[in-house]
Symmetry: D2
Subunit: 342 residues, 4 copies
């Protein structure tokens, strides 16, 4: 696998194309606005990183689609999600770079960009669909218009196609549902858990309403209909099991995975929020370049575009280690063997 | 001013007290929970930084209370606000440190802290009051109870006293109202500005509603009553003048000041938001240790506890440099002299 | 484990002591220098974090001193080292906060601090000793004087005592030496590895000198004498094994541990370097307050105070996965059982 | 300046080119190495940011080449340097992203890149030359070979051309030398300064050697010959004046400029250092892909590639405000007028 002909850095990175892709519009419509170059480069850097995030998400989803996810694949998925988390810090940092442009500087070229807008990033729409943002629950900036309305025909097709493909949310849910320990060797996790919660003698650690949502299919379905829960009840129970017993060696990787998903969700939310604050700073309450109401639209995406909120809800159900139902010895032993099998 | 007796690092920093102030409660009530030490130290670090932020805010307010704020004092204020901004990055970073504690780890000692809670930080209440958060507009976690209800009697008194003292908001508003350029040498800034906005022949850059809010006292008062604006109309106009002409040398420090205030507000908001996300991660939707509803309470503070939102609204009124009313020559000359005088 | 009497935030955090520990010296010797408060608070925050780092290091060392370190303990150690890494980011961020003080501002109170100096932080000396910085190899700021010379008698004793206690370096080395896979079931790792390196037919991937250092006790000892290597040869080989086969599930936690150690070392080095740059900015090439030569002293500590450099040297020995000696099936099976046993 | 035809985001950012520029070599030489995509994207993001940094540096240099630099231009230069500082934080953050790749992962595709190397980034060479890194003082990775030896013919020409063009160092030096206050109205700054330093009665604040370097041309020239100083004596004196009297309003922008230059230099140094640490982590002490010795080469660039070290040396000459020679009243008045004139 050694090369026969030498490779050059510039060719490898296609610098001739990459560095010949910055064409400020303001030069065509009068004097060049100095800060338009920054505006272009920041957005190009975003698109490069979106490509990388898609690349990592695709790889994770591909591995998880197979019915059998072994411990090694969970480990690799955690590794890749941690990489995405580091990239997300850059995404947030890039907002600070853009904020070195004043609102007045932006006005120097804002008109000539019409109607181009960050809302037209088809890659970001793909990222959202890959994660599992549901089209029906998206916050849209013009009621009645689909979220991909302002994309090119070609990109609309790609984005709509992605709606039909399995998302990270789905493969994670499937994987959780396959967790093998919930009912083995006569150990009934949910039953033992309920006993522990109720049996403490004093006030319950978990409210009846919350408890029912976990124990009862109908309650759970009700929450789903009200859009207050999305994950299946079975997957919720598995996530709770993993979180309660995360001290067990075999559960380290699964727990790291749940933590990494929460982390990623949290950072996308932070990025959206910082993005919204920046837009408010640039354009006040004016209509955004894409026709949306800018700050309000972006702030509106915070909650509905979270994908793994139910994993946060798991914390509601935790009880102290000292009150945890003990795992039967054979279950503990099995923890070393069964997980990856099914 | 040279010392006569040597000073030692440990004495100077009072390390005997500082490092003897960490007493995990869990040790008293059973086994020590490893992560309680982190919990204590993070909160102590917060309190140290709050003390520093108060120290800087107090110094800025003190200088600005004098009627005459010269350019040097504006410069120093900017310098100190930039320092606060660097400290705020630490405050946000400290959340990430605390997030290395899992929700289950927190449960190991959560019960024994009851009812202690971060809401009992009297210094943070002071920071808010110094900034200019208004008591009547605060988001409270128990309707009917004052925001300082859970403080000690001594701290309640300090916090209530601070409500009556001038805030950063007030001294900045006063300073803006004293801006001398708005009506000199026959130059009527607001009149010229309105002409520029209306005269572009095509659709207005600023909506009639927005424009009226700037030009008309009654409209402005209406917005104030609806809690949509807080800054006086005169101060808004001055902030707009500074933002539109920030290329003028004499306006650099004032514009840097406005930018630094926006920055500080934005970072406090980011910190609150990240704090809310962390609390959700730790306790789900459970009732917080202080009796509040945790995540919901904290998220509820985001908008009402912003102090300088009106400075963001200034962006709504900006017009491109190419359409700016030209400053008469004698105004431009005066920009070098008048600003600090009153 | 529920409380019977209520606990208050201020009491819990000992705020009466904590917030009554800032006494600027400049107030005693003339006018108060505004920035001295920042100087005090930054250093106090450092000491709080050093206490936390010591707390985490002590816990890791305690667990590792037992001969039998199971997978769970490795996992917990990784978790705690990751926490230290997050704290280290704060340590670096605090330098940026201190850099908001200009050199001239520092001069306003520098004289009255004489001879107090950060070199007198006994906790930082403890951190270094806990990590495994060797007294004999320390870079000192005054030849002939021990590194703890300027500490109080009490602190000197604590620091010297810590020299005799097991360090993180030692317990990690012992744990590596216990790695059970290097020679089981007739699988001779080192022999297979040498074959793979030599057998590629073309130029060696690893130089003869480097290879000998790994294979030959005498070569290794020579490097140790020249202070070019510190880790035992056996531990080096184990670290290489873990790094080459880190795709094996059982080796994930050990590999995460090695990575976290490298990370921690790297961040301490970064912090030292940033600290050195800041000192240069503050005092130029003047003699530092502690009598050392400031920047030069601090820069001099970079290399000798690294503890886990040998783990970086492991990268020198890596070969591509495609050329890795295959693990015999029974070794791969054993990887699931043996690691924690010995 | 309004558009007549609509502009689309994808066209504006040339996404068809940008997102079609990632071609992993490993796919051509066997199995695709997953992490090569990250490797490509990180380096492309670097090149985008280098382009932006060059764009900002060019603009600053262009403005400063004119003999007359007014206060507004100083302000704009500070603004642009602060932007570069924010970008530099991203550059450092990108190292952390790349560090999510393990050394073994890198080996999966390292061979097929030969001899491509980051040392072949002609844009980074341009950045260095624009800053003022001197070709004769560069640390090279192969003695005898020019630093641009491994660039393409076309890029060699661009880089060599840039050596002959004015650098930021030169235009800043010229601007400092034009500082008008050093000798006006009979106020002899250097004479007064020497009196203040010598007159304190006790030991000198500045060593005789240091003092002579400032006061005496021959001493200064000696240091220049020994490569211990680079800035002209006249410019050094001006930088000292600005630093000592930075409380004067007219000197705020110049002082902010000096601070921003130090900041930028420091961050490039930090980036180089972090880069070196990462390379060590990836390849140990192996020969780097470009034929250099990797870590050692990179560490070797730290000191010689600093451009504004002399500005740090200014701190050596500072004396406390309380000992500063008072400025005569007419000089203080003039500070408001003379600076920009020449």
């Amino acid at each position: 696998m050694k090369r026969t002909t030498p490779l050059y850095y510039g060719d490898y990175l296609q610098l001739n194309k990459l560095l010949d892709s910055q064409f400020p519009e303001s030069t065509k419509y009068g004097a060049q606005a100095h800060d338009e170059m920054l505006f272009i480069i920041v957005h190009q850097a975003y698109e490069l990183w979106f490509k990388q995030i898609l690349f990592e998400l695709d790889a994770i989803i591909r591995e998880f689609r197979s019915n059998k996810v072994d411990e090694s694949q969970v480990h690799i998925a955690v590794h890749r999600l941690n990489r995405i988390a580091e990239i997300q810090k850059l995404l947030i940092g890039q907002i600070r770079v853009l904020e070195t442009m004043t609102a007045l500087d932006f006005l120097d070229f804002r008109d000539v960009l019409y109607p181009a807008s960050g809302f037209q990033s088809f890659q970001f729409r793909l990222v959202e669909n890959r994660l599992g943002v549901r089209s029906a629950h998206r916050h849209v900036y013009k009621p009645g218009l689909p979220y991909y309305a302002n994309l090119s025909e070609e990109h609309q097709q790609i984005v709509r196609q992605s709606e039909t493909e399995p998302s990270l949310f789905h493969v994670v849910q499937d994987w959780l549902e396959r967790t093998p320990f919930l009912n083995v060797h006569g150990f009934d996790f949910l039953g033992e858990y309920e006993k522990a919660v109720r049996g403490s003698g004093q006030e319950l650690r978990v409210s009846e309403t919350d408890l029912n949502a976990l124990l009862d299919d109908e309650c759970h379905e009700g929450l789903v209909r009200e859009n207050k829960r999305r994950l299946s009840r079975k997957a919720m129970v598995a996530a709770l099991f993993i979180s309660l017993y995360h001290d067990e060696p075999i559960l380290h990787p699964p727990f790291q995975l749940l933590t990494a998903l929460i982390e990623m969700d949290e950072q996308f939310t932070s990025w959206r929020y910082n993005h919204a604050l920046m837009v408010q700073r640039m354009i006040g309450t004016k209509i955004g370049t894409g026709g949306s109401s800018g700050y309000d639209y972006l702030k509106g995406t915070l909650e509905p575009h979270k994908v793994f909120s139910d994993l946060l809800a798991v914390s509601t159900y935790l009880i102290p280690r000292s009150e945890l139902p003990a795992l039967p010895e054979d279950v503990r032993t099995d923890l070393g063997f069964y997980y990856s099998s099914k």
